[in-house]
Each structure stands twice: as structure tokens, then as C-alpha cells.
């Protein structure tokens, strides 16, 4: 299965992935409008910034995902391709997935449901990798 991989040696810390991720999930067609709307769109990745090192962390789509096993409602699921996804209509925001994810990849939502990387399933082209200017984020099979 193709996944998102990051190379910290190439990451410039520009945060473009964060913005493009948020935009891709905003439901808006125009980036300016998306970010000037009242409910600012939320990214599904986290950028870690050290003294000289930066990288983006998003869901690893684990083979045996702890978040899916631990989910108290059954909202967190794994599809036939092996992608881990959340059925937001069934998530009550208890944050048990945040308690167990070893990568810190599940993000509290502004509303009830948690947010996580869905590999931009609708377009099939993850926006973080598509828009990374320095190939620090790639979407590939390994």
C-alpha cells in the first residue's frame, strides 16, 4: 500500500504541507476563501520543529493499528486497502485513539470528532506530498 513518508533531511520547515492539508479538507475550492472563513480549516498532520531539524508527522496507517483496536465506539476502522479512517459520525471525541497512537498522529478536532490523515482518499493524491517543494514528503509504496 502506498503511504506518506517524510525525509527530515529535506524538510525546510515551510509548513506548506500543513496549509495544503487543511485546504484539501476544507471543502472549499479557493485557498484564500478557505483560510479567511470563520472556521479555519484544520490540518491533519503535525509539524515538529527542532533547532535544525523539522518534519511533518501524519498517520502511519499501521498494519495493526492500536487506534482501531482501542476505539470505544467503532468509529476508527481499517478499510480493505489497509487505510485507517475515522467515521466522524460515530466519533464522540473521547480521545482514546490519542491515548494509544505511538506517533501522536491523531488530532483533536475543533468539533467533536477527531481528525486524522485520510491519504486524501477522494482525490487519491495526498495534498501534503503533492505540494511539498523539496520532496521531503512523498507518497509511495515501500
Amino acid at each position: 500500500m502506498r503511504k506518506i513518508y517524510v525525509n527530515e533531511d529535506r524538510c525546510l520547515g515551510c509548513h506548506l504541507c500543513e496549509y495544503y492539508c487543511a485546504f484539501a479538507h476544507s471543502g472549499k475550492k479557493d485557498m484564500v476563501k478557505a483560510f479567511s472563513s470563520e472556521s479555519k480549516p484544520q490540518p491533519r498532520l503535525t509539524i515538529e520543529e527542532g533547532d535544525s531539524i523539522n518534519f511533518a508527522v501524519s498517520c502511519r496507517h499501521c498494519e495493526t493499528p492500536l487506534c482501531v483496536k482501542a476505539c470505544i465506539t467503532g468509529a476508527m476502522q481499517i478499510d480493505e486497502e489497509g487505510r485507517v479512517f475515522v467515521d466522524e459520525s460515530r466519533c464522540v471525541g473521547c480521545y482514546t485513539c490519542i491515548l494509544v497512537c505511538p506517533y501522536g498522529s491523531v488530532i483533536p478536532g475543533k468539533e467533536k470528532a477527531i481528525k486524522k490523515c485520510d491519504l486524501c482518499i477522494e482525490s487519491g493524491k495526498p495534498a501534503c506530498a503533492e505540494n511539498c517543494p523539496n520532496l521531503a514528503i512523498v507518497y509511495e509504496e515501500r
Binding site: 503511504k3 513518508y5 517524510v6 527530515e8 503535525t46 515538529e48 527542532g50 531539524i53 518534519f55 508527522v57 502511519r60 496507517h61 499501521c62 498494519e63 495493526t64 492500536l66 483496536k69 482501542a70 470505544i72 465506539t73 467503532g74 459520525s89 460515530r90 464522540v92 471525541g93 473521547c94 480521545y95 482514546t96 485513539c97 490519542i98 491515548l99 494509544v100 497512537c101 505511538p102 506517533y103 501522536g104 491523531v106 488530532i107 483533536p108 515501500r142
Partner: protein
């Protein structure tokens, strides 16, 4: 091969999934005394609150039994395990044969021996959907509600009830709320938040008798109630295993493959004891993730696989009135207090290991902390100062970090 599972909640569903990773076709029979399709127990307080509708209560998609080729016997109670004949005997007199059996019978509310309580009126428990339905039926806007027990169940019930009625008083013998997951200071922090909603607390006190609709407390104080909810704790349902001669302490004793001491019989979930890797003690860890993972391991081993469950520990994620908290591990050893005005944070270290934590308010990425405890990562291998700032992958050295970012097991 014939599999039989007694239970229909997290451990039972985990077991079905575990079996089906290995054995795709043999028959699985699920037997439960509850009549419902598998649903999520922890959602009953959300349901009471009206935040989760009936159709969102279910723990798995509606095709789960079909997809996994499960036969269900719902609303049926197993009375006995006949070890010699390898069958279970159901209360309607019928029997079901098994080759491998899982006991995932959960727990029952404990009703303390308080004078007059057992025949008092309007007394409820709060553990399954039907009990929540009974509570909803009984409560009106002007009801005076008393909840015995300021633990996870009592407080979640209070949150759910708060949507319906205003007068809620919680009584607990302990000097603080949530004694199973929080220290005194953390409990005070959360109590202050819940108190703002108008919920009243009577701590370090307990009921001595109930008469009419009045509860007399040991301190002499009297509380009048319309609805009394008993949520002081639960007791594992161990009867089937005990009667069949299996080893039982407080909960059913299993090995790390979830096998009981009875041939062909496994157990998982709230009815069992777990080995807590943080303290090295066997204890009841009545937690949904634990139940699911135990059930899954049981299923794998029942189907001829070979897998052990060695990562049990106390851990909780819960919220009340918008305030979230995540805790894990043991609150023992050197305590590092990192609280500020709006967030509460404590970390515990011992023997060069990260042992436990309490996060209230800011809970982002807590799982990185949990994994360091679970994996017993030596603290001299990571940047402990960064770790104290926040959970982050930068605490690891480059090699470990790159492995994590490349991986995803």
C-alpha cells in the same frame, strides 16, 4: 472447529476478529444475555445525554455478524459450562457444543450492603444500555438525583443526566473524585470544573442507610432523592469459570494467551485479571481497549495461532463538560509537576523509566508518552527535557525517529 463466545461486547468482538485472522470458515456462536446487536457500553452516558442516537450506539457495522459468519443467541443466558461434554448449557435448557470457548462475561454493578438500599425505591445502576434506558425513563427535569460513586461511571452518568435535570449530588467515600485515575490535586482540578456546572459533591462520606426517599450519610447529613444511582464499582462475572473449577482470584485468572486453567476455555475483558506491566501486579483493568486486545489474542490462540498479550496497563481517556484528560501507567516514583493555570500535567519516573502520567486539558499526542511507558524505553536513550515539554518524536535520536517515521506497525 466450533467456537463459542459467551459475551457480545468488546472482548467478544475482538475474539471474533482474532479467530478470523486465522480460521475463516469454522462456526462461531456468540451468546449474550443482552438482546442487542453489539453496542458500545461507554456510549450509554452519551446516549442518555442525547448526543448519540440509537443507530450510532453500535460497536460494529450492521453486517459484522454476517461478514464474520457468526451465529448469535441474544437474550440467552449461559448457566453452566459442562467441561466433560464440552458444551454450554443455556437457561432455556438448550445446549451448544464447543471445541474452544471464550468467556467474556464482563462485570456487574456492585451494590454495597447499605441498610435499606436493597429494597429502596428508584434505585438504579448504570452499566449497560438497558440500565441507561431505565434511568432515562425515571428522570424528569425537576428530579433530585443522588449518585453514589464519583468514579468514571458515576461522573459520566452525572454528565449525561445534567442535560435532563439540574439537581445532582455525587457522594463518595474517597476524599476525591476519580480516585482510580487521578491524584488529589488533579481530582481537585477536575472537580472544580464539574462543580461550575452546578453538580454538587459530598466527599469522604458514604450512605449508612436509605429509608423512604432519604439517604442518611455517615456524617449525619441527610439527602433526599427522587432517583438514586449506585455506581460505586463493578464486580467481574466469574461464576461460570468458578463453578467449572477454574482458577479465579478477584477476576478470572488467565495466562498471557488468555487461556484459563480449564482445558479449551479462554477468558477476556472485564471478567479477567490482567498483568499490569507498570507495577508487575495482577489486577482488574476494566478498560475497553484492554478488553478488545485480550479478546483478539484469545481468538488468535483459540484458532491455533500463537500470540501473547503482554502490554496491559491502566490507561484512560475521558472528558467531562469539555475538559479532557488522559492518564496512563503508574503514579509512582519521582513526580515531575508541570502544571500551569489552565492545564494540569504530572509525569512519573522510576528506575530510569517513564512510569506514568496525568494530562488534563492539553492532551495532544499523549500516545507518544503511552508508547514510551508501554515499550519501557530507557530514559537515557531519549531527550528527557524535550519529553517534559510535550509528547513529540523529536525526543528520539535520528535513527529511532526515522524508523518510526518510515514504519507504522
Amino acid at each position: 472447529m466450533k467456537y463459542v463466545i459467551i459475551g457480545n461486547s468488546a472482548a467478544a468482538i475482538g475474539c471474533v476478529s482474532g479467530i478470523r485472522t486465522i480460521d475463516k470458515n469454522s462456526s462461531i456462536t456468540l451468546i449474550s444475555d443482552e438482546p442487542h446487536f453489539t453496542y458500545s457500553r461507554p456510549l450509554i452516558s452519551y446516549w442518555l445525554k442525547g448526543k448519540v442516537a440509537d443507530d450510532k450506539m453500535y460497536y460494529r457495522n450492521s453486517d459484522f455478524y454476517d461478514k464474520n459468519k457468526c451465529t448469535t443467541l441474544l437474550g440467552k443466558k449461559v448457566e453452566k459450562i459442562d467441561l466433560a461434554a464440552k458444551k454450554v448449557i443455556i437457561d432455556d435448557g438448550s445446549t451448544v457444543e464447543y471445541d474452544k470457548l471464550l468467556v467474556a462475561t464482563g462485570s456487574s454493578p456492585f451494590v454495597p450492603p447499605v441498610e435499606g438500599l436493597s429494597n429502596a425505591r428508584s434505585v438504579f445502576t448504570f452499566l449497560n444500555w438497558d440500565s441507561a434506558k431505565a434511568v432515562k425513563e425515571a428522570v424528569e427535569k425537576d428530579s433530585r438525583v443522588v449518585i453514589m460513586g464519583a468514579g468514571l461511571i458515576g461522573l459520566k452518568a452525572a454528565e449525561g443526566l445534567h442535560e435532563i435535570c439540574e439537581d445532582i449530588t455525587i457522594v463518595d467515600l474517597a476524599d476525591r473524585i476519580l480516585p482510580s485515575i487521578l491524584d488529589k490535586q488533579g481530582a481537585d482540578f477536575v472537580q472544580k470544573h464539574i462543580g461550575k456546572e452546578g453538580i454538587k459533591f459530598v466527599l469522604s462520606d458514604a450512605a449508612s442507610s436509605v429509608k423512604g426517599n432519604t439517604i442518611s450519610l455517615k456524617s449525619g447529613q441527610k439527602l433526599t432523592y427522587d432517583v438514586l444511582l449506585v455506581a460505586v464499582g463493578v464486580r467481574p462475572n466469574v461464576g461460570l469459570i468458578k463453578d467449572a473449577g477454574g482458577n479465579v482470584n478477584r477476576g478470572i485468572v488467565t495466562d498471557n494467551k488468555q487461556a484459563t486453567t480449564l482445558d479449551g476455555v479462554y477468558a477476556a475483558g472485564d471478567c479477567t485479571e490482567s498483568f499490569d506491566i507498570c507495577t508487575g501486579q495482577n489486577k482488574i483493568l476494566a478498560l475497553l481497549p484492554n478488553a478488545y486486545m485480550q479478546g483478539e489474542i484469545a481468538g488468535i490462540n483459540m484458532a491455533g495461532g500463537d500470540k501473547t498479550f503482554d502490554t496491559a496497563m491502566p490507561m484512560n481517556a475521558i472528558g467531562f463538560f469539555g475538559l479532557h484528560m488522559i492518564t496512563a501507567g503508574a503514579m509512582e516514583g519521582e513526580c515531575v509537576d508541570l502544571a500551569d493555570e489552565s492545564n494540569y500535567k504530572k509525569m512519573f519516573f522510576a528506575d530510569g523509566l517513564f512510569k506514568g502520567y496525568i494530562l488534563i486539558g492539553e492532551i495532544s499526542r499523549a500516545g507518544i508518552y503511552t508508547s514510551l511507558i508501554r515499550e519501557k524505553t530507557p530514559m537515557d536513550e531519549i531527550d528527557i527535557n524535550l519529553l517534559k515539554v510535550s509528547p513529540q518524536l523529536l525526543v528520539f535520536d535520528k535513527k529511532a525517529r526515522n524508523q518510526k517515521l518510515a514504519g507504522g506497525k
